[in-house]
């Protein structure tokens, strides 16, 4: 039994989600190899070699992998993947982009977004935006799987001492090119990876009013989210949306402010460890899932909360 994990990185740093994917691989059982494909990505390979539970790092360093275009990555992963029983990636935008292509090239099914490992061929995954959980069993010889990283605790980033082996297979399909990238400069953590999320809803009243959440978010090192109602009302941009059609989050602490708790929003955050709701409507459905509910006018409660957090933290 051996497993190939496709590392997520930007050529300089190993993305933390990979440590969660390795954890899922560990549960499936077997030797875990990590593939780092990129350009000048030696530091990433070194980092992956230090991660717990990694047997070997395979590093494909070539210009055609610089931007990890799916058209070039998929043939590489499929070629290496033939020698493994499992090929795993994160269920991130890059994993979702590449892994189905890999599965098709291997002529096998793919199991997306697993949240639990039942055995080496049986996994649990959410369907209908998390409104149902399916247990699926793969009968393919090679199982191509993407992992919901929030469902698995990361393995230790240090302590391992895997070997790094160069792979010199350059697949350049020459049918796609990278043009540019606009990465949002985040003063805050990324929404789907944050340990704390502070979200505002329609109750915020305006985009301007979202600023009152800044203090709490800064203090808690939180990412900022929003409900669909707030996005549809034009208060904040779409990429802040938490919910069925937005981002799915599962932080340690989720603070919902002025959010009523429509099904579509709950689907995106109900797996959070601790949920706090602040809403002036005591019958708001958000209180049915909140661990701690505070019925209050948010414009009074939020400044008070910020002040209190400043005292205790």
């Amino acid at each position: 039994m051996s497993i190939l994990v496709v590392a997520e990185h930007d050529n300089s740093k190993l993305n933390q989600v990979t440590l969660h994917v390795i954890a899922a691989a560990k549960e499936m059982g077997g030797d875990v190899d990590v593939l780092v494909a990129g350009k000048d990505c030696g530091a990433v390979a070194e980092a992956a070699a230090k991660a717990d539970a990694v047997a070997k790092v395979r590093c494909a360093d070539a210009d055609c992998y610089r931007h990890q275009l799916a058209e070039n990555m998929a043939p590489l992963i499929a070629e290496l993947g033939k020698d493994y029983q499992h090929v795993l990636g994160a269920h991130s935008t890059s994993g979702k982009n590449v892994m189905p292509r890999v599965a098709a090239l291997l002529d096998v099914a793919m199991i997306s977004d697993i949240i639990a490992v039942e055995s080496d061929d049986t996994f649990k995954r959410p369907i209908y935006a998390g409104n149902a959980i399916a247990t699926v069993q793969s009968t393919d010889g090679i199982k191509v799987v993407t992992v919901r990283h929030t469902a698995f605790d990361a393995v230790a980033a240090e302590g391992g001492s895997a070997s790094v082996e160069a792979v010199d297979a350059a697949h350049d399909a020459k049918i796609s090119e990278f043009v540019d990238e606009e990465l949002v400069k985040l003063d805050r953590p990324e929404l789907s990876a944050a340990k704390v999320v502070v979200s505002g809803g329609r109750g915020m009243g305006s985009g301007e009013n979202f600023k009152i959440l800044d203090g709490i978010a800064d203090k808690l090192g939180a990412a900022m989210g929003a409900s669909r109602a707030a996005v549809d009302a034009g208060y904040v941009p779409n990429d802040m949306q938490v919910g069925q059609t937005g981002k799915i989050v599962a932080p340690e602490l989720y603070i919902a402010i002025g959010i009523s708790g429509a099904i579509q929003h709950l689907a995106g955050m109900k797996d959070s460890k601790v949920i706090v709701a602040i809403n002036k409507d005591e019958d708001a459905p958000i209180f049915q899932v909140a661990d701690y509910g505070l019925v209050a006018d948010l414009f009074k409660a939020v400044p008070e909360l910020e002040e209190k957090l400043n005292e205790v933290l």
Partner: protein
């Protein structure tokens, strides 16, 4: 330029999903069905290309049982020129759908294939990429902007942490994200006109594709219910609970 758009019939997104008591699946009996929201965005994008003069013909394709004709008629009412149903009552998995789409693609030879990034039932996010791999085509997944420039299809993709733009050599595959456009509603005259538009039906056997399943769903359960907690009276009490009881701050 010809554009092929894939359309999936799914549960209406407003319907609350219930799991069957025998845990075999979700209950779809007497439930309102609709065009998958991401597929609606795909149709809209193709129709806009036609209106802008970059596309000459928009062909909608769906794969599934006979009732999928309803969703194809919707696509026709929204502006697609004709439709194809690959009809089968067998369970369809993404790889098989990708193979069937590849067979339709080979017959139709479109310059662009647009699909939704995922369906809101199985939430797989696989079919477009699998089809692109089988057809040897480049892909732009999770698109928030698509522009055609000669034989180049430039796609701005929504990626974790921002946007990425790629340039694809046509023929190419695009999968849609929410921000790409806001789909129109079908007008009554267009719904009437759609009934007269061409809708061809073929079987997987006609296309030379075997329908097979390589994974099985053992059971479907409702997610663990989340128990509501307590109401606190003051901000002080809230902070105290978070710090000392939940220990999350």
């Amino acid at each position: 330029m010809k554009v092929l758009v894939a359309v999936k019939r799914v549960i209406d997104y407003n319907v609350k999903v219930r799991v069957k008591s025998d845990h075999s699946d979700v209950d779809l009996n007497n439930v309102k069905m609709a065009v998958n929201p991401f597929c609606e965005i795909a149709i809209e994008e193709a129709v806009r290309m036609k209106e802008a003069g970059t596309a000459e013909e928009v062909v909608a394709v769906s794969i599934g049982p006979k009732v999928c004709q309803e969703q194809l008629r919707t696509a026709l009412a929204l502006g697609a020129d004709r439709a194809i149903l690959v009809e089968t009552d067998d369970e369809l998995q993404p790889l098989t759908i990708a193979k069937l789409l590849k067979a339709v693609y080979d017959k139709e030879e479109p310059a662009l294939v647009i699909l939704g990034k995922q369906s809101i039932d199985a939430d797989n996010n696989q079919t477009g990429q699998m089809f692109a791999a089988l057809a040897g085509l480049p892909q732009g997944t999770g698109a928030s902007k698509v522009t055609i420039d000669g034989d180049k299809v430039n796609v701005t993709r929504e990626v974790d942490g921002g946007l990425q733009t790629v340039s694809l050599k046509a023929p190419a595959v695009v999968t849609t994200d929410l921000r790409l456009n806001e789909p129109r509603y079908a007008s009554l005259p267009n719904i009437m006109k759609a009934k007269k538009k061409q809708l061809d039906v073929m079987s997987p056997a006609d296309l030379g594709v075997e329908v097979k399943q390589t994974f099985k769903t053992l059971k479907v359960e409702p997610p663990p219910e989340r128990q509501g907690g307590i109401k606190v009276e003051t901000v002080d009490e809230l902070v105290d609970k978070l710090k000392n009881e939940a220990k999350v701050i």
